[in-house]
């Protein structure tokens, strides 16, 4: 299968500042691809280059088999975009905006639109000037999801939605995946990406630092284990791949690299397990480690990164 998006060595400068510094990204047709990074990492700039809004300074960018700058209008019939900051025309109603955008793309599916309006509980008759940020975002989402397109480019699409609507959004994306559509989902909400995405690319300061499936990335992270044993364990301390080990009598807590998991469990069961809690590696940890490992410490914006 060909790639819906393929970017290599993308560079974009705004005056003296370099927004993208050799970024690479490949999104396969039919997958939901998470595009992760803190604010200012270059996610939105990348999407704008993909939309032909910004012109790349260097690098190769292919979108749906075409050149996003040169073939912009033809390519845009086959994709729908949800901006991170949705601004709509104040004098139009939500329903008018949805229909207009759909018609200016590949066309709109009325049944799907009605279903989505119901599901997102959006009143299409209200003038967009009276919508809250969350409701403007819903307008953009319904317009994108009801459009007859192959590719969805979503830039932090849930930043204004409440938790209930985030769930609705996840259901809708799952449906899109089943329908065979390709989705590029930019986000800094890791649980969202974890729940939805087949593959993930992590960007930082204009470069891709990691890319792959969640399974491929898990080898980079650790499982947390908290066990109550019958006897004090032996031989744990010398195991490679075990971190932050704490043994208090028969209670053991530690973090284990995925490669050492099997051997660790073997030793624990050797001491007789009464109770065991294991937490799977979360993207949060993976992400934190990426920002922690380079400089040795979590960067100042680490708190914002994990939210």
């Amino acid at each position: 299968m060909s790639d819906a998006i393929s970017i290599t060595g993308l560079v974009k400068k705004f005056g003296p500042t370099t927004a993208l510094n050799g970024l690479g990204l490949s999104v396969r047709t039919g997958e939901v691809h998470g595009f992760l990074g803190p604010n200012g990492a270059g996610k939105t700039t990348t999407i704008r280059v993909l939309l032909g809004i910004l012109r790349a300074d260097a690098g190769q960018v292919r979108l749906l088999g075409g050149d996003p700058w040169r073939d912009a209008t033809e390519l845009h019939r086959r994709l729908a975009y949800v901006p991170g900051d949705v601004n709509l025309w104040p004098s139009l109603s939500g329903g008018e905006v949805i229909d207009l955008l759909g018609r200016l793309r590949g066309g709109i599916k009325p049944a799907r639109k009605a279903e989505l309006l119901e599901r997102f509980q959006l009143n299409p008759k209200k003038k967009t000037r009276t919508y809250s940020k969350g409701n403007r975002q819903k307008v953009a989402l319904v317009a994108a999801l009801a459009s007859d397109v192959e590719l969805l480019l979503l830039d932090e699409p849930t930043s204004g939605l409440d938790p209930l609507m985030e769930e609705t959004f996840r259901e809708s994306i799952a449906e899109e995946r089943r329908a065979g559509r390709t989705v590029l989902l930019s986000s800094h909400i890791l649980s969202e990406v974890e729940a939805l995405c087949d593959r993930v690319s992590i960007v930082r300061e204009g470069r891709t630092v990691e890319s792959g499936t969640l399974a491929e990335m898990r080898h980079l992270t650790r499982t947390t284990i908290d066990a109550e044993l019958k006897h004090p364990p032996s031989g744990l301390a010398e195991l490679p791949g075990l971190h932050d080990l704490k043994i208090e009598g028969t209670r053991v807590r530690c973090e284990v690299d995925t490669d050492s998991l099997d051997e660790t469990l073997r030793r624990l069961t050797g001491a007789g397990v009464r109770n065991l809690v294991s937490q799977p590696p979360t993207l949060e940890e993976l992400f934190l480690r990426h920002y922690a490992t380079d400089g040795g410490e979590v960067r100042a914006n680490g708190a914002e990164v994990v939210r």
Binding site: T73, H76, P83, W89, S93, G95, R103, K126, T130
Partner: protein, 533 residues
Amino acid sequence: MSPLTGTGKLIRLILRRDRWLMPAWMVWVALIPVSFVSSYRDLYPTAADRLKYAATSGTNPTFLAMYGPLPDTSLGGIVAQRVGIIPVAVGLVALLTVIRHTRTDEQAGRREMLAATVVGRHAGLAAALIVTMTANLLVALLVGLGLSNDLPAGGAFAIGLGFAAAGCAFAAIGGVAAQLTENAGSARGIAIGALGGFFLIRLAADTGGSDNALSWLSWLSPLGWVTRLSPFAHDRFWVLALAAAFTAVAVWAAFALSARRDIGLGILPARLGPAEASPGLRTPLALAWRLHRGLLLGWLIAFVVLGGIFGGIAEGVGDLMKDNDTLRDMFARIGGQKGLIDTYLASVMGTVGLVASAYAIQAALRLRAEEEVLRAEYLLATSVSRTKWVVSHLVFSALGPVAALAVAGLTAGLVHGANTGDIGHQVPRVLGGAMIQLPAVWVLSGLTLALFGLLPRIAVAAWGALALFFMLGQFGEALQLDQSLLDLSPFTHVPRTPGGDVSVTPLAWLLAIALALTAAGLAGVRRRDVGAA
């Protein structure tokens, strides 16, 4: 906490936000009447001159409609008539000020932020009204003091207090309108509509001359009360009690409405739109029409009014000149009475062309506004090409002025033709004088687009260009500026008609320049990044 808690703090906030705008406006309003005193003293130095004015211009129906009645044939009386349009401007600024500091803030969510602090629910409205009304009373004081140097103090303060009465009454109306709708634009529309209505009532009362069958109407309008003050003739200060009572009732109504509603909402429910787009809403042009139509309609109405006024005054221009021997001799050399009116018509059509350019710039700058709020990006992410998007707005910048000049020229021609009993002859001449401005207007459309395409960050500099061309046209010759400087303005090159010779060469040049600028702008837009930066 009382509903007025925090009013003092909010007053200081308003004074801080308006610390430049408000004093500048007050001083400007106070200076106009003072400047009129010296210019009308020069123009009508003797009692005989002033009687002539009273018999001609002072009773011309168009003048009466615009400025109101001439209370007295003294110098003060003439000044009192000629400042007659100022209460409308004062009222407009007052209502806009109140709405800006109440509903606009509320719509932007700033009031919600304040409501969370120690601020009573009426404090914002009270602060806006107090500041606006105090400013108007200060204007009254300034006008009164400024005029009483040269004129009797009673009439001087009657003029000043007339301004203040209009300002306070429409500040209160603004306060009421701000409670009615969720949207500041609609509130402004309602309040300006009320101002327009009251102006029309005053106009209808006065245009037929003193003591006509409709004169009583002026008692129904705050703007009518201002004229009934009759400065320098009767100085009827008791009329101010009417204005005070009206203001008090409107203020009471604003607070009563404010007490009945939730923050962020209006008394009137927000209007709903259609759930689905009409079948025609499927192109960038259809979208642009939705975005431009309200503004365009507003401008067209303004152009009809402008044309009506200019056409209505045309015949009276001769009367005005009868008062003044020097001016009459000057214009007689140009071509006598008929030449005089033609010169006047050609000159006011130049003004209409400048105003049409303002619309052309505003319509073209819509592109930049759409880009700045990222709506352009959103639209360009669909199958709309950059060229189509730009053209969809450019159509309004280019064709809006065609419609505007046509209605202004047509109205002016019809009114002037009706006055002279020669409609068939006048309409094509005056209309031609209006339409011939188009190539110059298009130069400004093209200039705006070129800036937008090549230097988007300073696209608003197009307004600066218009201001420069306006100054060159109005004061260039009086200041005896060099011809090469005057030639900078496209309007310098528009042939003067009716009455002058029309040569095609300058028009063709203007057209070529407009096209070149447009092409450069389009090429720039196609090449550059789109975005807010």
